[in-house]
């Protein structure tokens, strides 16, 4: 045998360009994450309406403090509860025995709570200027209850933590999780818009006009016409931009023939001890 030096070909490396591979992988992974999230949202959308309110009330209803915790019968808490119940009379399909929960907190905020409760913070009651405005906030939360959004939000965060648990490897789980959460946030913003519309409808039923609704949004910090940076950041937000919500109030008023402004009723407890 004789040694004949020959060069082996360089065939141990595949021919695809790394940037092409990166683009395909990024695109593929992002697309898969978005599709999976859409499927999960659709599944939630299908399952949640089948959860009977009776079950929800039985499991969660006992968690929230009763009407006695709201303070004196003429105070803000009890009056807000009365307003809530009055608004809910227009919602004929309401399955919940509604409760109001008052939370002492420095930030104005309101929540829809499982079991059929609406939570408001004391700061919110301090910051609203009229009964109509408060009614819109309560109506928005009733809109969430009507759409069972609170249950869907719980389902969404459960699925997201499951996904996080399954993805515990290097730095590349950031991409599919970001794609998934961006898709999920879009659903969250759609739900906020639906709750807004329900609140507007309740206002129209109770007062005959939408006065107070636009005022509430115009006082939120991002209410001015948004610049480019805010627009991009709005994809990361759970709520639509306030300027957009103001516009939707005006559009809703026009579409449903309801006047945008009207006489605002003062808060029932305000004129007693503040002015």
């Amino acid at each position: 045998m004789v040694y004949v030096p020959r060069t082996p070909p360089e065939n141990n490396v595949s021919r695809t360009h790394p940037l092409v591979e990166l683009a395909t992988l990024l695109g593929g992974v992002a697309a898969a994450a978005v599709l999976l999230t859409l499927a999960a949202m659709a599944a939630l959308d299908w399952i949640v309406p089948h959860i009977p309110p009776r079950l929800e009330i039985r499991v969660f209803g006992g968690l929230w403090p009763g009407a006695e915790a709201l303070g004196e019968p003429d105070g803000p808490g009890a009056r807000t509860r009365a307003l809530l119940l009055r608004l809910a009379t227009h919602w004929e399909a309401n399955p919940y025995p509604l409760q109001l929960t008052l939370l002492p907190a420095a930030q104005p905020n309101a929540f829809a709570l499982p079991g059929g409760a609406v939570g408001v913070t004391s700061a919110l009651l301090d910051s609203v200027q009229s009964e109509n405005e408060l009614a819109f906030v309560l109506g928005h939360e009733l809109g969430h209850l009507a759409g069972r959004h609170h249950l869907q939000a719980m389902g969404r965060s459960l699925l997201l933590s499951l996904a996080l648990a399954g993805f515990h490897r290097g730095g590349s789980e950031a991409l599919p999780l970001t794609a998934a959460s961006l898709t999920a946030l879009r659903f969250a913003r759609d739900q906020e818009r639906a709750a807004d519309r329900f609140g507007l409808w309740l206002l129209a039923q109770e007062y005959g006009h939408l006065g107070g609704a636009a005022d509430f949004f115009s006082r939120l910090p991002d209410a001015q016409a948004p610049q480019a940076g805010l627009r991009v950041a709005s994809w990361l937000a759970t709520h639509p931009l306030s300027a957009d919500r103001v516009q939707e109030v005006k559009d809703w008023a026009r579409q449903n023939g309801v006047p945008l402004q009207g006489p605002l009723r003062p808060l029932p407890w305000r004129h007693q001890d503040r002015r």
Binding site: M1, V2, V4, P5, R6, P8, N11, N12, F167
Partner: protein, 104 residues
């Protein structure tokens, strides 16, 4: 192309030696297989998904080695050896090498 993991092919003599040829491929498993493997880790047994994956990868590595040998004009690869090593958290390198020769 004759592949053998022995020094000599019985009955045939080596006319020319061309040198070491190798074939390798790096394969990653996907998250579905990972998940099934995680479940299997509870009950034991063969991880069929991984067996399949590594078998395909080893075949590809051998094919690349044969490609190199053919390009060098060989008609046999002797003393074929395999090596598997983990190169990243979810990937393994399959490596096959041998000596490319011309049998008469």
């Amino acid at each position: 192309m004759i592949l053998s993991n022995t020094e000599e092919v019985p009955g045939r003599k080596v006319r020319e030696l061309y040198g070491v040829v190798s074939g390798s491929t790096v394969r990653a498993k996907h998250i579905g297989r990972d998940f099934m493997a995680g479940l299997k880790n509870l009950v034991g047994g063969e991880l069929k998904g991984y067996t399949e994956l590594l078998r395909e990868a080893r075949q590809e590595a051998m094919d690349r080695m044969v490609e190199q040998a053919e390009a060098m004009g060989a008609n046999a690869v002797l003393n074929v050896r395999f090596s598997t090593s983990s190169v990243a958290q979810s990937a393994a390198e399959l490596f096959a090498y041998g000596t490319a020769v011309r049998l008469e």
